[in-house]
Amino acid sequence: MCIAIPAQVVEVHGTSAVVERYGERLEVSLLLLQDEVAVGDFLILQARAFAVEKIAPEEATEIYRLFDEFVGATSDKAA
């Protein structure tokens, strides 16, 4: 499935950021993102390497809730 789980920004370093989701940290490029990014924002990633979209916290929460519903997980996520 072509699933895109949001990741929350925990550090910003110029054109890259460290993001976290479900306890997993990734360093991603912000070069292809059109929006400004700050710590706490939620990003959609492509290929686990590039941020491609910033989404609203409410939307991220909804996606986490759906995914939790599927996997039965309730902890360790970035939200």
């Binding site: 499935m1 699933i3 979209e53």
Partner: protein
């Protein structure tokens, strides 16, 4: 896609390749992607399900949404008016263009050590991101039966011109349209030898590294098939298992740009010399860029204002939606009872192309890796996997012991 990036919450692909001497003797492809995730849509009313669908499936989001809407509309007996259909097809083509550009301008140059055309990709993405609001002023276009459609024709025409210019620049540079290398073998060879654009340099790197034939195999392209039969397979009790490892009458097929352009004159010519290896596979993506631009123009001509909200007729309660997305044939199958989703299945192109008996496996088994002298085996295999373009990351293990 990034080698070494399998797993994570979205799942991924694990590819193991065994090399003995100078031959790949075994290939094992395993997927941990959660094909049952779409089951979270079951038990929701269809309108809510269509809102959630693009949130869950954010890669090729537009194609997923259009396939889902088509399936639900078929189930409800909603006939989509032509302008709404044109608008959706326009958006699918735009998304495919963006995804294809990503592979061609960023992933593939990096794979062969050429420079990515990052600025062009950024400009293309920016242009393409504006398109939906130039069609649907209310932005939320993912409504059953369509949404208020008010195409800003002058703006869209200007954007299409700019898209065409950007793509022409990255393929041909300052050369004229008559030098477009995507039409016949002679112009292609001239462009490949002398071209100085990112596209030409990337393909030249591929050929110089002896990889033009790498990955050629015997898997046939996905043919026109019986939609009703496929829908029955997806609806069956073992439908999720089928969606994880699909076949047509026992045969596994390839889907995507190369399959769609199998008989295109240039691609057929390249296949005759190089099989369905990396050169034909990569060139098919470039040719398809041209086709996607043509599709955008064709659908643009059909756009007109429409209020949306088409009425439901007597649906059968089950429906099937098919979209040709950037990565290939994407199918959704839904069952609806009294306005609620009672079954939902998705068959994604990655399941065809990374099937354990699919084009990756068949393209690698028996491949002689010594011929690919410049790059190590690992890099050649990663190139083929990237060319087959999974929608998740993959982890590659090469056993050369």
């Amino acid at each position: 896609m990034t080698d070494g990036a399998a797993g994570g919450v979205e799942g991924g692909l694990n590819i193991r390749v065994v090399v003995r001497g100078d031959v790949i003797t075994a290939v094992d492809v395993r997927s941990s992607r959660p094909v049952k995730l779409c089951a979270v849509l079951v038990g929701r009313d269809v309108d809510a399900a269509m809102v959630l669908l693009p949130r869950l499936f954010g890669v090729c989001r537009i194609a997923q949404t259009v396939a889902g809407l088509a399936a639900v509309e078929a189930a409800l007996g909603v006939v989509l008016p032509p302008p709404q259909l044109a608008a959706r097809r326009f958006l699918v083509a735009a998304e495919s263009l963006e995804q294809t550009a990503w592979r061609l301008l960023l992933d593939w140059p990096c794979c062969v050590g050429a420079s990515p055309a990052l600025d062009t990709l950024k400009r293309l993405r920016q242009l393409l991101s504006i398109l939906p609001r130039k069609l649907f002023p209310d932005l939320a276009w993912n409504h059953i039966g369509g949404a208020r459609l008010a195409p800003a024709r002058a703006d869209l025409a200007a954007m299409l011109d700019q898209l065409q210019h950007e793509i022409h620049q990255v393929v041909c540079g300052d050369a004229t349209r008559s030098d477009w290398p995507l039409t016949d073998r002679r112009s292609f060879e001239r462009w490949l030898r002398h071209g100085s654009t990112s596209a030409a340099l990337t393909l030249r790197c591929l050929c110089e590294q002896g990889l033009a034939d790498f990955g050629r195999g015997t898997v046939e392209p996905l043919p026109a098939f019986d939609l009703a039969a496929l829908e029955r397979r997806m609806a069956a009790a073992d439908g999720y298992a089928f969606c994880a490892r699909p076949d047509l009458d026992g045969a596994v097929h390839e889907t995507g740009a190369l399959a769609r352009l199998w008989r295109h004159p240039l691609i057929a010519d390249l296949r005759a010399d190089h099989g369905n290896g990396l050169l034909a596979r990569w060139m098919a993506r470039w040719v398809e860029m041209d086709g996607l631009l043509a599709e955008l123009h064709a659908q643009f001509a059909l756009l007109e204002a429409h209020p949306g909200a088409s009425m439901a007729q007597n649906g059968t309660g089950t429906g099937f939606g098919l979209v040709e997305s950037a990565r290939g044939c994407l199918c959704h199958r839904v069952a609806v009872a009294a306005g609620w989703v009672s079954d939902y299945k998705i068959l994604a192109p990655t399941e065809w192309n990374f099937h354990p008996e699919g084009p990756l496996t068949r393209g690698l088994l028996g491949a002689r890796v010594a011929e690919a002298a410049a790059p190590p085996v690992r890099r050649a295999v990663a190139l083929l996997a990237t060319a087959l373009d999974p929608c998740v990351g993959f982890e590659l293990v090469v056993d050369e012991s």
